[in-house]
């Protein structure tokens, strides 16, 4: 379990993370989403023990991560643009990781190198972007850390590669790994993640189980005999409100039955509840906070 307790981090007098509190259960796939500059990469650096938080603590199974090799050997961080030694081949990188991760499994490594058809003697700098990511995944699977942190793992990859990585991550789920993925590609995250958190202005504004959240956010299309304004629905927690004459599309937070009962009081001609996805949840939350493009 990862516990992020009241974490604060600032750079050059700017608060990047502000009293951040999140708990991530073991074995879960946690999607870390947020607008640009929200502090996602910073949080990942803190989780990996690369940086130290100014205040608060980050605990992995009750132990601090910073400057703690015993904890860090169970964590692997793959950034959006992983670093390789100049002219190093995947085998040479394997030797490097073997030095620091005693649990590195050579058979698993060879299995994935063969599966991904990665040329072992060719310098990694000559690999394509997708192949470089595959190489990192092969190394990650060989290390089999308890916690895997991925920063923008899918970005810049074609659909075939994305599918390959999703399969690899699913493989990791089977290994009982806890995975934290930061990405802008929310549709991909929705396929994999079972929990998520929206990071905004250094705080986790929304977090929790994905299905629970989706159960509490509803997209409703409703038509009335006459035009109604948003103020009429002030009792609802409205995330998004779009009106076209007498037809209203709104996204509302709360219990669906209570919402329906409330809306029926207005005698709608038509009331339909539509499915909402993670991307829409993110967009609506951000719009509410004034971030994004408005119609």
């Amino acid at each position: 379990m990862i516990e992020i307790k009241d974490v604060m981090k600032s750079f050059e007098n700017k608060n990047v993370l502000n009293h951040l509190n999140v708990t991530i259960s073991s074995g879960s796939i946690f999607g870390l989403i947020g607008p640009n500059g929200a502090g996602k990469s910073t949080l990942l650096y803190l989780l990996n023990g690369i940086s130290k938080c100014d205040e608060g603590s980050i605990l992995f199974d009750g132990k601090e991560v910073y400057e703690n090799p015993d904890v860090k050997k169970d964590i692997l961080f793959i950034s959006d643009d992983p670093y390789y030694f100049h002219f190093a081949s995947i085998d040479e990188m394997k030797d490097f990781y073997l030095t620091f991760y005693p649990q590195f499994n050579l058979e698993t490594y060879q299995h994935y190198v063969d599966l991904f058809r990665l040329p072992q003697n060719k310098p990694l700098k000559d690999y394509s972007k997708g192949m470089k990511r595959q190489a990192m995944f092969a190394l990650a699977l060989a290390i089999a850390p308890k916690y895997l942190l991925l920063d923008e793992a899918f970005d810049g990859l074609d659909p075939v590669m994305r599918l390959a990585f999703k399969k690899a991550i699913n493989q990791m789920i089977d290994e009982n790994m806890t995975v934290i993925i930061s990405s802008h590609n929310l549709r991909e995250l929705e396929d994999i993640c079972d929990s998520f958190g929206i990071l905004e202005n250094g705080c986790m504004t929304t977090s929790g189980d994905l299905y629970d959240i989706k159960d509490h956010i509803h997209k409703i299309q409703i038509a009335f005999k006459e035009e109604l304004n948003k103020e009429e629905f002030s009792h609802l927690d409205v995330l998004s409100f779009h009106k076209q004459s007498r037809v209203i599309n709104m996204v509302v937070k709360g219990d669906i039955n209570e919402i329906k009962d409330y809306l029926r009081m207005f005698n709608p001609i038509m009331l339909e509840v539509l499915p909402v996805n993670l991307e829409e949840i993110f967009i609506y939350e951000m719009e509410r906070k004034g971030y994004g493009v408005y119609d």
Partner: protein, 466 residues
């Protein structure tokens, strides 16, 4: 603590570079083997030059991961404490540089000892000098690497700090030249306190000087100084590494000890080098230096902009330069420049006379039956303090009584005439600088030669027959 697995990995990863270091280093004993007249100081110098070069390059290479964000992220994410990462990398840095050089120096000196024979003390001392100065250079360059925040700044600041002591020396030398030009000293070796400064400013200079005088009795205080500095810097480096963050990589170098110090010291030194009492030439040279200062300033900030701080600092440096020159002149180099050395400091002294005819033919003077050009003085093997006193008194008298003239001043006189010259030489008993000697020629006009010789007789500097 050292991480043994990582240390072994570093050896494995850098195997080809280690082989190259050893292959290039074989030149040292090979040269000794083939050289017919080797010497201990040359053998040591070759090792030291090679060693100092390695000590500049290797720490920059090994700690280069700090300068790029991606590599920094990788290393700091590894399950190894920062302390262990620093200690292991540093130890490997010393291992990869000092060990091969010392091995080859031992072989080379061993061959030399077999051919020529040297004392055990000098043999060991040469090795110690190499180790101390390589350790110092390696540690110093590591400090610069840890204070800079990108690869370009790392190279530039390292290069600057290696050559800055020389620039400071040239600047002080210029100040000293301006002083001695007004004294009877004129041209000649008058650097008198300046070499000492260079020993304590420049690691290569001190190392090479210590190696040059290895078989003579010189003090090693400056080497001990560098050893202490290195130990202090090792601790500083440890703290810098522990505090280093990923955010510092690939960003502008902010440390005051890098660009700000280099720019201030470098500009100040350039101003001192170019400073004269002529206002017009100062305006021109200071303008050029201001341009160089601006280029350095803007390069350090990677942008061009105006801020009142920029010209203000330069003006303060100009004022400081003028002030320093005045104080340096009025205190005669903070009492390090003297017309005549103190009696107790003279190791050896000598003078001799020459006769120069220009346009008249005239018989050379005889003094007490002896040709003037045969009269000379040299400190004997059993020199006494009275000898030094007599010599110093003689020099003071011929200066104070204006019996001698500088060559430049004499040749400004339009009248061409015969004249004598006196060539005066002396060396100083300096524990750090065996090269401190002076040798000057002065002009003695015909009308003054007898008075000069009277003084020679007065101070018993030559045994005239009665």
């Amino acid at each position: 603590m050292i991480n043994k697995d990582y240390f072994k990995y570093l050896i494995k990863q850098n195997k080809k570079y280690l082989i190259l270091i050893y292959v290039v280093g074989i030149i040292i004993p090979f040269w000794v083997f083939n050289e017919y007249t080797p010497s201990l100081d040359l053998t040591g110098t070759l090792s030291l030059v090679y060693g100092l070069s390695l000590s500049c390059i290797v720490p920059i290479y090994l700690f280069s991961f700090l300068q790029k964000k991606k590599s920094n992220i990788l290393y700091f994410s590894l399950p190894i404490q920062k302390e262990s990462l620093y200690l292991t990398t540093s130890l490997f840095s010393y291992f990869a540089t000092i060990l091969p050089v010392v091995i080859y120096q031992l072989i080379a000196q061993g061959i030399f000892a077999y051919k020529m024979g040297i004392s055990i003390g000098a043999f060991i001392l040469a090795i110690i000098i190499t180790i101390v100065h390589m350790f110092a250079m390696n540690t110093f360059i590591t400090t610069i690497t840890l204070l800079t925040q990108n690869s370009v700044d790392n190279f530039i600041c390292s290069f600057a700090y290696i050559f800055l002591p020389l620039l400071i020396f040239i600047a002080l030398n210029n100040c000293a030249t301006n002083i001695v030009y007004k004294m009877m000293l004129g041209e000649g070796n008058y650097t008198q306190g300046l070499n000492d400064i260079l020993y304590y400013l420049s690691i290569p200079y001190n190392g090479l000087a210590q190696m040059k005088y290895i078989e003579l009795h010189v003090t090693h205080i400056s080497s001990i100084y560098w050893l202490i500095i290195s130990l202090v810097l090792s601790f500083v480096n440890y703290r810098l590494f522990i505090k280093r963050t990923v955010e510092q990589s690939e960003s502008h170098t902010k440390s005051f000890f890098m660009y700000p110090s280099i720019i201030i010291l470098g500009t100040f030194a350039m101003l001192l080098v170019m400073y004269t009492t002529d206002f017009k030439s100062n305006v021109l040279s200071f303008t050029i230096i201001f341009m160089i200062y601006l280029i350095m300033y803007y390069f350090s900030k990677r942008k061009v902009y105006f801020n009142w701080k920029i010209p203000t600092i330069f003006i303060l440096l100009v004022v400081s330069c003028i002030g320093f020159s005045s104080v340096y002149a009025s205190t005669k180099g903070f009492h390090s420049i003297y017309e005549v050395p103190s009696t107790s400091s003279i190791r050896s002294a000598s003078f001799s006379f020459s006769f120069m005819t220009n346009y008249e033919t005239k018989t050379e003077l005889k003094y007490k039956g002896i040709d003037v050009t045969d009269i000379n003085y040299s400190t004997g093997p059993k020199k006494s303090s009275k000898d030094n006193t007599n010599f110093v008194n003689f020099i003071n008298d011929i200066i104070n009584q204006k019996l001698i003239t500088k060559y430049d001043d004499f040749y400004n006189d339009p009248i061409n005439k015969n004249f004598y010259t006196i060539g005066v030489s002396y060396s100083i008993q300096s524990p750090t600088d065996l090269g401190r000697y002076a040798s000057r020629d002065y002009v003695i006009e015909e009308k003054n030669i007898e008075k000069v010789l009277d003084l020679v007789a007065k101070y018993n500097l030559y045994k005239f027959k009665s």
